[in-house]
Amino acid sequence: MNAIASPNLAQVLDHPGIWRRSADRQPRVRALSTGWTSLDAKLPGGGWPQGALSEILFEHDGLGELDLVMPALAALTQEHRRVIFVAPPYLPYAPALAAAGVDLRFLHEIHAGSTEAAWSMEQCLRSGCCGAVVGWLPDIDYRSLRRLQLAAESGDACAMLFRPAGDAAQNSPAALRLKVSNSDEATYVEVLKSRGLLTTTAPLLRMRA
């Protein structure tokens, strides 16, 4: 009787809404492996957070920013879960997608203007029938980001948003923010923000030589 009325401290702290910063008590994050071993090792849960928004900030086209997400997307389509590309900036090229292991039957593209794109992305995330929704929304504001984060939570889908690197300084509700940049002829991935990550300054990850 008493136990029900006043749960002990350990039970209270076990509540998922409470986050305790301590080395031996990692919060549980459900994640989808990125397929990049060294990146997985750096992320809480070991991959793209599920039911949350991830941002990939990139400096230029062609740095390997899409390569970063392809293994996870390919794995989803192979499990017959749908992956949606919302407003991609170029034509997604079937030979390369197939070579990356994507089952094209479960990949859909939505062609839309910027307001419609945000709406579509939110609908897909919220629907509960999409594995991942990948969007290219160049001028998205904080409110829309927040909506996407909530939609991803509600539909338990993986939201991935590609944004220009210049937006890195903007505040964002995303659970994970990665920055893809290039120097000395190699591509580096930097973890800008990661919910549940203990070390604040994560080292750079070298990805494409």
């Binding site: 230029h60 034509l91 062609h111 839309a112 629907s127 029938c129």
Partner: protein
């Protein structure tokens, strides 16, 4: 047997005012009379003293703001049929009693609906939602149910003797006998049906004729009623014509809601769905606008059909004001409710892909949703196309970029370094779109990897064709 009768006193109004809701005092004119006589009035008009049988001039004098329309028997009949379709979900035997009543045998379905009070509640609720004023009664005899629905709303008499007793107390004016017969009987000093029932039969036949006696027999259940069972039609076609031209899509929503509801009623009756229907708007000078509403899976929910039609309509630009709206659904496939795993937790909105697909298409248009198919063609721009991914074609073994530019563009500045190549692609001479290019994987000064080509045998004139994103 238990016959329920639904009467719709406002049916003539609903039919005549299908395009725009009535507002203020309104009346309908008798379509048959040569003089323009008022046939039906609404409550507003009645409050001004407008009565049935007045001529139009007198009615206008009493109420200058009176809005008058002719009765439209064809539209009334359509509306009654539509209501019959809706009733068909409660009973397998539904009969139209023009101009404004429906009879249905509910004895067989009472157990399914937990008895008459629950069924009556559902009927009233459904009709209320559709905005139809109604009265109802139920008795073992169809004719008696029809009579009581007019005089005693809500009455239900399950046993035969009770009906006969109640009929005995009914004033002659409400008995359903022709008014000439009623007047004649009243002149003879009769007031109630019971007094007539006690008369010797041959005498009564001589006074009120065979038809009158027959009607009395039907009321008491002594003669069988021939009630043809209504059958739901196999397709749907309904049109509403407007009195005035309606400009823009907003005013069209009211008639559109009526039509989609009517379609949903038919679908419920057929226990079917609709996967595709056409919305046709007629403009002046014979112009028409057709809007096709297609769905991924058969639907039958009235609200859903309306939403789909509305979003499609709102995205259509209308060349001119509309004069009429029509919905036409030729194929009504069997409706299969979506299957779902009993133990699967529902995520988010819990939609299935066809529903989401439909929702997106309704707002963005069909062209906005695409899939990408791999094609066995050596020409880079033809190896990928929008369409349904079909048979698995093995991808080329050489490295290909994830992004392809819609068409190659001159590359400026020129690449900083060549990482791989050349790969000679020479193909398509047979269909006139031949290509002869040397492809390279190159790196720009910013570290981007690109797929670019040179015409064979040259060293400048780089064309950018893709990004290794």
């Amino acid at each position: 047997m238990l016959w329920a009768c639904l009467r719709f006193p406002g049916l003539a109004f609903s039919a005549a005012f299908a395009a725009t809701p009535e507002a203020g005092p309104s009346a309908l004119l008798d379509h048959k009379a040569r003089q323009r006589l008022i046939a039906v009035v609404n409550a507003d008009a009645a409050a001004h003293g407008v009565r049935r049988g007045q001529n139009l001039a007198a009615a206008r004098a009493l109420c200058p703001a009176l809005e008058v329309r002719p009765r439209d028997p064809a539209a009334e009949n359509r509306l009654l049929t539509e209501l019959a379709a809706w009733c068909y979900q409660f009973s397998g035997h539904v009969t139209l009693v023009p101009p404004n009543a429906i009879l249905m045998e509910v004895g067989a379905s009472l157990r399914l609906f937990d008895g008459w009070p629950v069924l009556a509640e559902r009927l009233r609720e459904g009709l209320g939602e559709q905005g139809h004023a109604h009265t109802m009664a139920a008795t073992p005899f169809a004719a008696a149910a029809w009579v009581f629905a007019a005089s005693a709303d809500g009455m239900v008499i399950p046993e035969r003797e009770g009906v006969r007793r109640m009929l005995g107390d009914l004033p002659l004016a409400q008995s359903g006998l022709p008014s000439a017969t009623v007047t004649a009987l009243q002149a003879m000093g009769f007031r109630r049906l019971g007094e007539i029932f006690r008369l010797p039969r041959p005498e009564l036949t001589r006074r009120i004729g065979r038809d009158g006696v027959n009607w009395l027999d039907r009321l008491r259940g002594d003669a069988a009623d021939a009630l043809p069972a209504w059958q739901p039609p196999a397709n749907f076609l309904q049109k509403i014509e407007f009195d005035a031209e309606l400009d823009g899509s907003q005013p069209l929503l009211f008639p559109l809601r009526r039509l989609t509801r009517s379609l949903a009623n038919l679908l419920a009756a057929r226990d079917g769905g609709v996967q595709r229907f056409t919305l046709t708007l007629e403009h002046a000078r014979g112009e028409t606008t057709r809007v096709v509403v297609a769905m991924a899976a058969p639907q039958r929910d009235a609200e859903r059909l309306f939403e789909l039609a509305r979003t499609r309509l709102e995205r259509t630009t209308l060349p001119a004001p509309a004069r009429s709206i029509k919905i036409d659904a030729a194929e009504l496939p069997t409706f299969r409710p979506p299957l779902r795993d009993l133990f699967e937790p529902i995520r988010g909105d819990g939609l299935d892909w066809p529903t989401l697909d439909e929702r997106l298409r309704a707002r963005l248009g069909d062209a906005a949703l695409r899939q990408i198919a791999l094609v066995a063609d050596h020409r880079p721009e033809r190896a990928s196309r929008y369409g349904t991914p079909g048979n698995v074609v093995s991808p080329p073994r050489r490295r290909r970029p994830l992004w392809l530019l819609p068409r190659p563009v001159p590359m400026r500045p020129e690449p900083a370094a060549v990482l791989a190549g050349p790969e000679r692609i020479e193909s398509g001479w047979w269909d006139g779109a031949d290509a002869r290019r040397d492809y390279y994987i190159v790196r720009t000064a910013q570290g981007q990897q690109a797929w670019a080509y040179l015409p064979p045998g040259t060293l400048d004139g780089w064309m950018l064709h893709g990004w290794f994103a």
